[in-house]
C-alpha cells in the first residue's frame, strides 16, 4: 500500500467512526445536534480525501473534471437551498426526496460500472451480484421515493390507489426483475439486461408505493431510507470502496430498526403497511360529513370561556394541526394562557403528526419549552387533573376504542383524553382518521366539537379567550 493510499484508507476509517458515533449521539436530544455535526465532519473528510486521491491517481480528462465540478456545485446548491427553505411541516417529503436522489446516484454508479465492462464479457460473481442488487434496490428506491414525496406533498393522491389485476402485474414485474437478476449473474454483459433490470425496478417502485395511504407514508419513507443505505453499500462493493460499504450498511441497519419502531408505535406490522390499501390520510374514504345527533357542537366564544376559567389545560395536537400549519397559533394561545397563570401542557402521542416525532419538531419550531411537551405516559397521568383538553386535529390517537378488542386500532397505546373534566375537539368535519373508524370520544357527554380548520379555529379562540381574560 502506498503512503497516499494508507492515508486515504485511514481517513475512511476515521469517517466511519464519525458516522457511528454521530448516530449514537443522535439518540438523545441533548447531544443530537453535535452528533449530526460529527457525522458531517466525517463526511467532509471522506469527500476531501477522495478528491486528493483522484487528483494524484486518476488520469481523468479535463471534460470529466469540469462536468464533475459543475454537477457537484448544482447538487450542493439545490440541496442546501431546499434544506434551508423547506417548511417544517413539509419535512417528510424532503427526506423522501433525498432518499430518491441517493438511490438514484447508487443506481447510476452501478450502471456506469456495468457498462464499462466490454459487451459479451463474463462477469465474476463478486462483481455481478452486488451490481445487480445495486441496480434493483437503487431504482426501486428512486421511483418509490418520488411517489412517496408526491403523496406527502399532495401532488399524488394520498389515498391508496388500487386497481384490478394489480397483484398479477406485481407478480409479472417481480418475475422480470428475477430474470434480469439471473441474466446478470450467469450470462455475459448485455446492455439489454441492464435496461430491463432498471425499467422493471422503476415500475416496481411505483407499484409498491401507490397502494399505500398517506398516513402510512412515514413508515414507507423510513423503509426506503434503509433501502437506499443498502443500495449505497452495494455500490461500495461494485467500486470496491469501503467507506460506502460501511456507511451504507450502517444506514441500512439503522433504517430497518427505525422502521420497525415506527410501525410498532402505530401498532401495525411493516408487512401489513406494505400490503397497503389501508391508510387514507386525514380524510377517510368512509367518512361522512353529517354530524350525528349525539354530538355537541360549540363555538369559539364558548371555548374561550372554558379556557379563560380553567386552571390546567392540556393541548393534544395531531395530524390536522400539521396539515393546517397552525403551530404558531397554538403557541400564541398557550402563551396567552400561561401569561394569565393557567398551566398549559402538550400531550404528544408518539405517532402524532405526519411522522413519528414530527409534532415535537413543529412545536420546537415555535419555541414551545421542551418541558411542556409531555410524552404518552406522563401525559396520561395528568389528564385526571386537567380541566380542559384541547384536541387539535387528532383523532385515532385519542380513540377509546383502542381499549376494546377487535377494532382496527385495538391495542394501540392512546392518550386518555376522555379522563379530563372537559374536552374540546377542533376538527374540520366528522370524518374518520386513517384507521377509518368512528371515535366515541366525539359523542362523549364531556366533549364539545368545534368544526373548523385548525388555524382559523385557533385564531377565533385566541380572540374570544382574550376578551374573557381581559374582563
Amino acid at each position: 500500500m502506498s503512503g497516499l493510499m494508507t492515508t486515504v484508507s485511514l481517513s475512511y476509517l476515521v469517517s466511519a467512526v464519525c458516522y457511528v458515533m454521530g448516530l449514537h449521539m443522535m439518540r438523545t436530544p441533548k447531544t443530537a445536534r453535535n452528533g449530526n455535526r460529527l457525522s458531517s465532519v466525517g463526511m467532509f473528510l471522506a469527500v476531501i480525501m477522495t478528491f486528493i486521491v483522484a487528483l494524484v491517481n486518476h488520469k481523468a480528462s479535463t471534460t470529466a473534471w469540469i462536468l464533475l465540478v459543475i454537477g457537484l456545485v448544482i447538487g450542493v446548491g439545490y440541496g442546501v437551498w431546499r434544506a434551508r427553505t423547506v417548511q417544517m411541516t413539509d419535512m417528510p417529503q424532503l427526506v423522501s426526496l433525498f432518499n430518491a436522489v441517493g438511490g438514484g446516484a447508487a443506481a447510476a454508479i452501478g450502471t456506469f460500472d456495468y457498462l464499462s465492462r466490454p459487451s459479451g464479457a463474463s462477469l465474476a460473481f463478486a462483481f455481478s451480484f452486488p451490481v445487480i442488487l445495486d441496480l434493483i434496490i437503487g431504482s426501486v428506491t428512486f421511483s418509490g421515493s418520488l411517489i412517496a414525496t408526491g403523496k406527502l406533498a399532495g401532488k399524488v393522491s394520498g389515498k391508496p390507489i388500487t386497481f384490478p389485476g394489480a397483484k398479477l402485474l406485481n407478480a409479472l414485474v417481480v418475475l422480470v426483475i428475477l430474470a434480469a437478476f439471473v441474466m446478470t449473474i450467469w450470462f455475459p454483459v448485455n446492455v439489454w439486461t441492464l435496461v430491463v433490470a432498471i425499467v422493471a425496478s422503476l415500475i416496481f417502485g411505483i407499484l409498491m408505493t401507490i397502494p399505500i395511504g398517506g398516513a402510512d407514508m412515514p413508515v414507507v419513507v423510513s423503509l426506503l431510507n434503509a433501502f437506499t443505505g443498502l443500495a449505497v453499500a452495494m455500490a461500495g462493493f461494485v467500486i470496491d470502496n469501503q467507506v460506502l460499504i460501511i456507511a451504507g450498511a450502517l444506514v441500512g441497519a439503522a433504517g430497518t430498526i427505525l422502521t420497525l419502531q415506527m410501525a410498532a408505535a402505530m401498532n401495525r406490522s411493516v408487512a401489513n403497511i406494505i400490503a397497503g390499501g389501508f391508510g387514507t390520510g386525514d380524510s377517510g374514504g368512509t367518512s361522512t360529513d353529517e354530524v350525528p345527533v349525539n354530538v355537541k357542537e360549540t363555538s369559539a366564544d364558548d371555548v374561550g370561556v372554558q379556557l379563560a376559567y380553567a386552571k390546567n389545560v392540556m393541548i393534544v395536537p395531531g395530524y390536522g394541526l400539521a396539515a393546517a400549519q397552525a403551530q404558531h397559533e397554538v403557541a400564541e394561545l398557550a402563551k396567552l394562557l400561561t401569561d394569565n397563570g393557567i398551566n398549559v401542557n402538550y400531550a404528544i402521542h408518539p405517532v402524532a403528526g405526519r411522522m413519528p416525532g414530527h409534532m415535537n419538531v413543529l412545536l420546537a419550531e415555535v419555541n414551545v419549552p421542551y418541558d411542556q411537551m409531555k410524552q404518552l405516559e406522563e401525559a396520561n397521568s395528568m389528564f385526571e387533573t386537567t380541566d380542559v383538553s384541547l384536541v387539535i386535529g387528532a383523532n385515532d390517537v385519542t380513540n377509546p376504542e383502542a381499549r376494546e378488542p377487535n377494532t382496527a386500532i385495538s391495542g394501540m397505546p392512546i392518550l386518555d383524553v376522555d379522563k379530563s373534566k372537559s374536552i374540546v375537539v377542533i376538527k374540520r368535519s366528522m370524518s374518520t382518521g386513517y384507521a377509518g373508524i368512528q371515535n366515541p370520544l366525539f359523542s362523549n357527554d364531556k366533549t364539545s366539537m368545534f368544526f373548523s380548520d385548525a388555524k382559523k379555529g385557533l385564531q377565533e379562540i385566541i380572540a374570544s379567550t382574550k376578551e374573557y381574560l381581559d374582563q
Binding site: V47, G79, V80, A83, R84, M88, G248, L250, Q261, A364
Partner: protein, 104 residues
C-alpha cells in the same frame, strides 16, 4: 472467493450489526431527525460518484457520471443541512424564563 470480496463482506456484515446495535431504542421524539440524519449518511454515495466520474471518457459515460454527481451532492448537502436545522430547534434554550434573549 477472493480475499478482497471476503474482506468487504466482513466489513458489510459487521457494519450491519453495529447499525442495529448503535440505535436500538430511540425516543419517538427523535425519530424524524434520526431518519434525516441517517439519510444524510447515505449521502456518502457522492464519494462513489466522484470516483466513477473521473473515469468517464465518452458522452454516454459523461452523462451517467454527471447525473450521479448531481444526485449524490443533493443527498449529502441537503441531508446534513436539513437535519441540522431540525435539531437546532431541539437545542434552543429550554427554560428561557430568565429572559436571556439569545441570538434567535
Amino acid at each position: 472467493m477472493s480475499q478482497e470480496l471476503f474482506t468487504n463482506l466482513a466489513i458489510f456484515v459487521l457494519s450491519l450489526l453495529v447499525g442495529f446495535e448503535v440505535i436500538s431504542k430511540i425516543p419517538s421524539t427523535l425519530h424524524t431527525p434520526m431518519m434525516s440524519g441517517a439519510n444524510a449518511i447515505h449521502g456518502v454515495v457522492v464519494v462513489g460518484s466522484i470516483l466513477v466520474a473521473l473515469e468517464a471518457n465518452s458522452p454516454l459515460f459523461y452523462t451517467i457520471a454527471f447525473i450521479a454527481a448531481v444526485l449524490g451532492a443533493i443527498n449529502v448537502a441537503g441531508g446534513y443541512v436539513v437535519t441540522d436545522r431540525m435539531l437546532e430547534m431541539f437545542s434552543k434554550p429550554k427554560k428561557d424564563n430568565n429572559n436571556k434573549g439569545g441570538e434567535q
